[in-house]
Symmetry: C2
Subunit: 361 residues, 2 copies
């Protein structure tokens, strides 16, 4: 069995941590056991992932350790305060102490809620991300954003809390449903748009391989995405500046998710439609060409992603939901737009009439 | 009205923050308004404190700010996950964004839960501590430990999250009930035992003034307590070493609180009885004299504090509850003991038979 493994680092001083990327890392290596400190482990996963990979993970753990598994229901609608409370109940009943390591085995929902649980359990314990969806592998498992949703807004309650390691087994993507896989590609496309025009061109040229999950194409796409994410996070861990560019399409996308009810649209689907809106708004402001909007629409469509907000969602609905966005500062909504292909900027001067024109067209 | 104000600092690099101490700071100054960044404020307090001081606090806030007040029920039994969720519901419904500052107006319960709310709201917002009980003024408001309780253990869910400022109005102590006031003195006595033999002697010599709430005596006791707390926290913010000495008596004390049900014993009362146990254990190990145990019992009794654990709490009950303590590492219980008067140490070699002998005597 192959044990090719690429290692990147998120450079955060004494909290620097590795990202391991390769096929079959869950089966063929002891990376996970090595990343764990202490003799107590809590593996958090969900009922979809558990039958596929939980045994492989448990086999990597030290035999003498106290190990508990917490199996959550599957879906964004369970990324809640209530679910988080249930995790603490289970972990405390099993008498885990502060030397426990939490392992997040699953997609973005599992990673976000497990990371937040690790941030709060006994005021903070170690944790390791083992992302099994494309979205989690290229985005949510790296960078330390953890959270749960609230009925009034996505990721409203959470913490910046970095993992001790991220272990990306690219072979897990073979079991991913088409819709979830495509949702992950949305974040991959985002990295090209905001940071790397060459990568954007490469993605366009490799859209067939991406769609068909060609192992080599995917491997490079994941590695380059993680490199960009790691570079941005290292420069601005707590989103006081640069990091906000990672939210291209997310302000619109979160409004879609909140409006539709968590889980109706996948996060990546909402981001895809949101990115088209953000890039179109950039084009309306003449910083990129209308041709880029069209080209992006074709790319996302070819990758199996939506390019339009849900029918019936008016500009007023968007504006109302976006006014609660975490990027709002002293009443000014902020948007991530493109200054050019491969270069994102945060602006706070978008006028309401621009939003009406953009959304109600 | 007097505006004497002593300022200390907790030296934490770029997160350095001031502690202001003086009488009538809530009425006579604009310290609070100055400590707030942004134009949104949430004041969290409880139904006992609100009628006394909420108006004074609100008057210090900028007129143009969005201000919300959250009034909690009074008592340790409300320092829960559920109450924290209620705070988020209220703050989100009032549409507070990430530029909000949380103000904790009250005792240790309000401070702990508000600090944790600030740590998690939109992944972390500013907050200011305005402690109104002696316990909160000398201990819990300084140092960034925030948490809620769980039925299986005290402060099990929380975060290290530092305030932007601590504003101690010593005049608020005049409205404190005798039992709560005495509970705060327990933490004051702790600082002498663990860190400063001279301060311990000074407390013994000033027990009458302490009991009668003499303004000058109290003022020095609070200042010296905050100095010691600030020094220890600056040396070890996240309790990887030295900071654990601040828990003298707390391992036993938490077991008492958990066993009796939150709110039955005040935290400081449980700490008082727990300190006697810890110092007696130190004497059993010959690091301090039996005379110190007797002297401490007299001092605590003179200050209106209990010196015995609740009747009927067996050593097995203590051991069972203490095995969940956050200081347990890989199965070894750790205790803060005295190596000498004014010098605490953390030990992990206390034998079960010592605990049985100590508790079941």
């Amino acid at each position: 069995m192959s044990v090719q493994c690429t290692t990147l680092y998120v450079e955060l001083g004494d909290r620097r941590y590795p990202i391991y990327i390769g096929p079959n890392l869950l089966h063929a290596t002891t990376l996970l056991g090595d990343a764990i400190t202490g003799r107590q482990i809590v593996v958090v996963t969900n009922e979809t992932i558990a039958p596929l990979y939980l045994d492989a993970v448990l086999r990597q753990l030290p035999a003498e350790a106290l190990v508990s598994s917490v199996i959550l229901p599957d879906g964004e609608q369970y990324k809640t305060w209530q679910t988080l409370g249930d995790i603490f109940d289970q972990v405390l009943r099993a008498r885990h102490n502060r030397s426990t390591t939490f392992v997040a085995l699953g997609g973005g929902v599992v990673g976000d809620i497990t990371g937040f649980a690790a941030a709060c359990y006994q005021r903070g314990v170690n944790f390791v991300q083992v992302p099994t969806t494309l979205l989690a592998q290229v985005d949510s498992s790296v960078g330390g954003k953890t959270a749960v949703n609230h009925p009034l807004g996505k990721n409203m309650i959470g913490a910046f809390y970095q993992p001790n390691a991220v272990i990306i087994d690219t072979a897990t993507l073979s079991t991913l449903g088409d819709r979830e896989y495509a949702a992950g590609l949305a974040e991959v496309v985002k990295y090209g748009l905001i940071f790397d025009a060459d990568f954007h061109a490469w993605l366009g040229a490799n859209r067939v391989g991406l769609r068909s999950r060609d192992a080599n194409v995917l491997s490079y796409a994941i590695k380059r995405s993680c490199e960009i994410k790691a570079e941005v996070v290292a420069a601005d861990e707590r989103e006081s500046g640069l990091r906000a560019i990672l939210n291209l399409g997310h302000t619109f996308g979160h409004a879609i998710e909140t409006h539709m009810g968590y889980g109706a649209w996948l996060h990546g689907e909402a981001v895809a439609a949101g990115m088209v809106m953000a890039v179109r708004l950039s084009a309306m402001r003449h910083s990129v060409s209308d041709g880029l909007v069209t080209e992006l629409e074709h790319l996302l469509t070819d990758l199996g992603l939506p390019i339009w907000a849900p029918e019936g969602m008016s500009s007023n609905t968007f504006i109302d939901l976006m006014s609660l966005d975490k990027k709002v500062i002293d009443g000014r909504m902020r948007f991530v737009l493109l200054a050019a292909l491969g270069e994102a900027v945060v602006v706070d001067d978008v006028r309401q009439d621009e939003l009406h024109a953009l959304i109600d067209r």
